[in-house]
Amino acid sequence: MVKVEPNRIGPFPFPMLSPDIRVKDFSEVELPYTKEQVMLEAERCLLCGNPVCIDACPVQMDVRGMCEAVVRGDFKTAFYRIRKTNPLLGVTARCCPQLVELCEDACVMRWQGQPVSIGMIQRFVSDWEKNSLSLPLNEPVKNTEKKVSIIGSGPAGIAAADFLREHGHSVTIYEELLTPGGTIWYGIPDYHVPPDILHYEIESIKKKGVLIKTGVKVGRDIELSELISESNAVIIATGSKDVEKLDIPGVNLDGVFDGYKFLESVYVNGVNEYLKNPQYNLGNNIIVIGGGDSALDSARTSKRLTQGNVTIVYRRTENEMPANPLMVDEAKDEDIKFIFLTIPKSFIGLNDKLNGVKLSRMKLGEPDESGRKRPVPIPNEDFIIKCESAIISIGRGPNSFLQKKVGLKMGKKNAIAVDDHYLTSIPGVFATGDVTTGESLVVKAMGHGREAALRVHEFLMNKEKDHISLYEKYYTETTTSSYYQKMLAGKI
């Protein structure tokens, strides 16, 4: 029998700031491991010959190599091993739902206990590098003289830029907002990812030679045609930003807000700036509508801003909620209330100001296309909840601004249509990330961005016939016994 240490170091899933303290400000919820703890936790890794954790990572981050180095206290090697494919280590360590569908879900240790706390180890390594050394990153092997313009500095754009710069191309990112980072910057609250973590990682990418032009909206401040004429390739990575509307009476009342715009307003210039001049008068009784991660973040942000009574209304049961269950637990600990099997029927106002929501009770019917049971209204089971504000967070579609402006071929929900090579309907223009797939995880958008960047690289270097996917490259190179032995010997 293989000796397995079943439980991870410290509490499961990770150490946290106590709820009564954390709701008072925007401090990070998750607490870090100490050096001793992280080395002990890394020792639980079995260093699999076929590391399933890497299979489950959309950017094939070298989790096994990281753990092998961390056990020896060699954080520098650990950093370089994981930085190779992941330019946003500190960000993804904090915002990936590792346990739900990524590396920790796949970790073989889960079969006999708790999976290795990969996110916490990654976080320690990235913080160690940031706080102690600020290690130089690899210089591009050679300059190819090829220019690539990337529209959007979110996770897909950043990952694509990092990959292309690594391969010697000259990269310029055009970002509409004044701060780069896309949804990581304006959509992920500070209590998940403190802003200095993102700033540091963006600066590292800039030091590598990637130019980021902020405050430039392509299609408004500069035309796509200009970028096409001055670049060898263009990548559109404008993310998902078109909010889904809730079409019920009273939706235009003062006090009914869009959740995504709310989060953007709070975080886009930093929370401290928002607090100096709050733009939302939320009151003390707040209803949040939706069951995803953004609904949770709208609720938890409202709680921190008001210390008021915050209630999430979701149309199915907790079992069907798409949000990360660990985040649901955190929200419950912060005294966020939940009302399940309920949908809003209308918003009720007095003098154009919201003062309540009429809700309908639901029951679960037959499964829908997703396999989840469909919510069905129960007749005559309406009720009213008094509230001063309601925040709607029911989903986002692809940011359709540019494709509509320039007439790019589109698919469902105005997503940019791309072929297997990530090419759009305009030659030399590629698209990647949420603008092509719809809303996904940060790390999935990054994986998508890297794959598109590979296609762009092959296009620029006339290597399209030699295409081999990044996963296949990883698999054939690093799951061999010779690679394994070299890694153990510290030669990789």
Partner: protein, 185 residues
């Protein structure tokens, strides 16, 4: 628990041995052996002299959580594709199934530890397995289904796969694929 355990009629235990091969047991009897060949493929040979060739190369490229299984005729050496798993998804007898999915009605929280499940889908996000792309892969996360299999245990200590009768035609290659995709180390 929603899983009707009585309907899981076939149970395999797959265990890696000291030589790096894996032995397949059913009802405490050794019924087959898996070994790795060159070119990153695996061969499963049952004690009924049946042979399967398993490869993570699916629809032209090596993919995570994917497996192509060919049954090989030992006499003629001809092969016949019996199972294709692409990004956890496979089709059998006109039904779509997904490995590592949350059964309908089960809290997501309960799947963070312990067994993984194989479920039959009511609707598939694609009409053919070949059609799976980045867009459909993102939608796979939301799917729920009816549980028809349960997977647990570490490869070296015994990886246990229980399957319902509706998968009996592909039970051995499916169990082997799960072992190779999830539990071997």
């Amino acid at each position: 628990m929603l899983l009707d355990k009585e309907n899981l009629n076939v149970t395999y235990i797959l265990k890696k041995n000291s030589l790096g091969n894996s032995i397949v047991y059913c009802d405490n009897k050794e019924i087959g052996e898996i070994h790795e060949t060159i070119e990153m493929t695996y061969v499963l040979i049952s004690n009924k002299e049946e042979k399967w060739i398993l490869s993570p190369k699916v629809h032209g490229e090596i993919r995570p959580f994917s497996m192509s299984v060919l049954k090989s005729d030992l006499v003629s050496d001809k092969t016949n594709e019996v199972l294709v798993i692409h990004s956890h998804l496979f089709k059998h007898k006109n039904n779509f199934y997904m490995i590592n999915i949350t059964p309908e009605g089960m809290p997501l929280r309960e799947t963070l530890k312990g067994p993984k499940y194989i479920c039959r889908l009511k609707h598939s996000p694609v009409s053919n397995i070949e059609e799976i792309d980045q867009k459909s892969k993102i939608r796979l996360r939301w799917l729920r289904g009816f549980p028809v299999g349960e997977i647990e245990g570490i490869g070296t200590n015994g990886h246990k796969i229980k399957l319902s009768n509706e998968l009996k035609d592909i039970a051995l290659p499916l169990a082997t694929s799960c072992h190779l995709m999830f539990a071997i180390f």
